[in-house]
């Protein structure tokens, strides 16, 4: 009988402490709107990417709750509901993120999850999101495959995917008359890197069939050391070097390649090259052609909404906003628009996930980076206008972006129903430039 007694005591004490803990942790807030925000708060992607994004998000949420955001976002919070956010670190890999996602949805009982920078995470989360029927807004990750390989009910991506970045850069190179007789690439060995290179190289081959691909390098993500790769790139003597490196990897690459003269000897293009500018300051090389994955940072459009946001961020953090905060803010604004639209439809009550999902599908909304239209993926995937520019030094030696060319959304994004790669290979049919 002692055995049973021991078991019972052990089990009941565990249960009691658990129930107590659960009671403390899962405060069910019916009045406000709770969101989980997932982005890189540690590791190589934190300082250039995740932290600025969360800074932008924090700032916008604060201003929204105070009702200080200009129209059409001037309602307080989300349709009057106060916004509370739970930030979660995206580091640790897709398997860990699936767990954290489940925690947010099942334990913290959030009303929506906004997040995900890494394309790897964006490939893993959506099916779990639909399985748990949790409203999920992907705000950043780039792989086109999320809505090309499958379709989801509760998952939305409020920013254009990577195809746009690489198609636009290819067009820019040709329009500006650069020598693209040979190209090489260094991209990270995972979905984002591989898809970026594919979109770029296929675009170049389509627009300039005689171009030769000299070298295709795929170092491990977060590897941080590119000495050998830089030698290989320089040895190949390619006229254009393409890279979708980002975060700490991009910073390391620039710091390692610059003293070796890579940027002087070849035309380097960074498909997502702007977010390391605040950190590197004057160290950023001149003459680099870059995209910011949208009209962001120094390439942002001159609109009242953008000017407001640029100033608000600058005032708060003392540094200009590059793509990360723009995209997080874009996600929040899209979510807000969808929620308020759903509330208009259901008579002003707090909308449930189905109502929000229905309102979100096919939505169009203004963001600091331009007009966002949820046109692809059956209304779940956004397209937006783009801008490509070139870095140069101003009279004080600061790095600025010049020679900016803007592209309409329908010029560099595939239409609904066709994969990005297929669209490029077919010669961009239906592109409206």
């Amino acid at each position: 009988m002692k055995f049973f007694r021991h078991c019972l005591i052990l089990l009941s004490s565990m249960l009691v402490s658990l129930i107590g803990f659960i009671g403390v942790t899962s405060a069910d807030d019916h009045k406000g709107f709770k969101i989980g925000v997932v982005t890189f708060l540690s590791g190589p992607a934190a300082e250039p990417f995740g932290v600025p994004a969360w800074n932008g998000g924090k700032l916008l949420i604060k201003l929204l709750n105070e009702g200080k955001v200009p129209a059409p976002y001037n309602k307080k919070g989300f349709g009057g509901m106060e916004i509370t956010a739970i930030p979660i670190d995206e580091a640790g890999g897709a398997t860990k993120q699936v767990q954290e996602f489940r925690n947010l949805v099942q334990r913290d009982k959030v009303d929506a999850v906004l997040g995900y920078v890494s394309s790897g995470d964006c490939m893993a989360i959506p099916s779990v999101a639909d399985e748990l029927q949790a409203l999920t807004v992907l705000y950043d990750c780039g792989t086109p495959r999320v809505f090309e390989d499958a379709s989801y009910k509760y998952v939305f991506r409020t920013a254009a995917h990577a195809a746009m970045d690489n198609i636009a850069i290819a067009k820019y190179l040709i329009e500006k008359g650069h020598d693209i007789s040979s190209i090489a690439g260094i991209n990270q060995n995972y979905a984002w890197g591989k898809d970026s290179w594919k979109d770029f190289s296929v675009s170049i081959k389509k627009l300039s069939p005689n171009s030769e691909i000299k070298n295709e390098l795929f170092p491990k993500i977060f590897s941080g050391q590119y000495g050998t790769e830089i030698s290989a790139l320089m040895n190949s003597k390619a006229k254009v070097v393409h890279s979708s490196l980002w975060g700490g990897d991009l910073q390391s690459f620039i710091l390692q390649a610059k003293p070796r003269g890579l940027f002087k000897r070849t035309q380097v293009v960074f498909s997502a090259g702007d977010h390391v500018m605040p950190g590197l300051g004057k160290q950023y090389p001149e003459g680099v052609i870059l995209g910011a994955r949208g009209q962001y940072g120094m390439m942002a459009p001159d609109t009242p909404l953008n000017n407001w946001f640029y100033k608000a961020y600058m005032d708060e953090y003392g540094v200009f906003p590059a793509q990360p905060p723009y995209r997080m803010v874009q996600g929040l604004m899209g979510l807000k628009m969808a929620i308020e639209k759903a509330m208009d439809n259901n008579g002003g009550k707090k909308p449930n996930k189905d109502e929000i999902a229905e309102a979100f599908t096919g939505l169009e909304f203004e963001a600091p980076g331009g007009l966002v239209q949820m046109k692809l993926g059956n209304g779940h995937q956004a397209i937006q206008p783009h801008a490509i520019g070139k870095t140069a030094k101003d009279k004080d030696g600061n790095i600025i972006v010049t020679d900016i060319v803007r592209y309409k959304a329908s010029c560099v994004n595939p239409p609904n129903g066709i994969n990005a790669v297929d669209w490029i290979s077919a010669g961009f049919p239906g592109a409206d430039c």
């Binding site: 295709e216 491990k220 000495g227 290989a232 910073q251 003293p259």
Partner: protein, 299 residues
């Protein structure tokens, strides 16, 4: 063609030097204390962080630029001085004489602790300290540009390896250490202070780990997680070279370094895989590595 081969050799040498400096401490500590120190990667990271902290302070003091190397050495020394008493005397000494694998597990636990210590002290941000890299300028070799600092790494690796080997084999203290490696018990009976030797050896190992981190800091962005890859890469070197052997570490580093450089230039797809491939190859054919650690002839 010659150009390319030269590039591969040079790149391979630079990477091999880095690997060697990183793995030297690991193999030495195993040779003397018979401890496979997983926390070696953690000490490496601490060395990088400490350099990233001390060098900016140095620059703000306005001293001549060349002395920055001294600062980096001091930062590595500081890490070793702090870590050795805590790790060796405080924790590891309790386990001497017990199962080798048990001590490895203890070093694994310490590794976990060190990972969070980095986060707690320096936060989640990345630190940059690229100024020392510009000290030695750049060199034009053929059609390629190499940074002097990277080439100097080769010199540093040779220097460290040679110095350690000379001290071990040609000095009196070194021979005492060799005696302890051969047979701690008898050495103790002959009057050698075993504990002191262990402490000193661990200190040297920790210093080398921190040194590797210090001199790598100008090349990378110093952030949480740099230790993870280092653990496995240093392991690969010692597996191939043989635990406890310095010449083994040299050969191991060269094999991996050259293989990887060749891959990046000729077969980029295999680049990530090649290191594990070498490791696997060695394990199938000669699991104890190319060289044995120092061993006495036993009756």
């Amino acid at each position: 063609m010659i150009d390319e081969i030269l590039t591969i050799i040079l790149d391979g040498a630079i990477y091999a030097s880095w690997l060697f400096i990183v793995a030297l401490g690991l193999t030495f500590v195993f040779g003397v204390l018979k401890i496979l120190n997983i926390a070696h990667g953690g000490i490496y990271a601490l060395g990088a962080y400490s350099t990233a902290t001390l060098v900016p302070i140095f620059y703000s003091l306005g001293m001549p630029d060349q002395l920055v190397i001294l600062t980096m050495l001091v930062s590595a020394l500081a890490v070793a001085i702090v870590i050795t008493p805590i790790m060796e005397r405080g924790i590891l000494r309790r386990f001497y004489g017990q199962d080798e694998v048990l001590i490895v597990l203890v070093t694994y636990a310490i590794y976990l602790v060190l990972e969070d210590v980095q986060k707690l002290i320096w936060g989640m941000n990345s630190l940059y300290v690229y100024e020392p890299r510009e000290l030695l300028g750049a060199l034009e070799l053929g059609s390629l540009y190499y940074v002097g600092y990277d080439l100097a790494l080769i010199g540093l690796a040779i220097f460290c390896g040679l110095l350690l080997w000379l001290v071990l084999n040609k000095t009196k203290s070194g021979k005492i250490v060799l005696a302890v490696i051969h047979n701690p018990e008898i050495s103790g009976c002959m009057g050698v202070n075993i504990n002191k030797v262990y402490l000193a050896a661990f200190f040297v190992g920790a210093f080398l780990a921190a040194l590797a981190g210090s001199f790598t800091a100008p090349l990378i962005s110093v952030q949480v997680g740099i230790s993870v890859a280092v653990v496995i890469e240093s392991f690969a070197v010692v597996i191939i070279g043989g635990l406890g052997s310095i010449p083994g570490a040299v050969i191991g580093a060269l094999i991996i370094g050259m293989a990887r450089a060749a891959c990046v230039h000729k077969l980029p797809e295999a680049e990530i895989f090649i290191m594990y491939f070498c490791m696997a190859g060695m394990l199938i054919f000669r699991p104890k590595g190319l060289f044995q650690g120092t061993q006495a002839r036993k009756i």
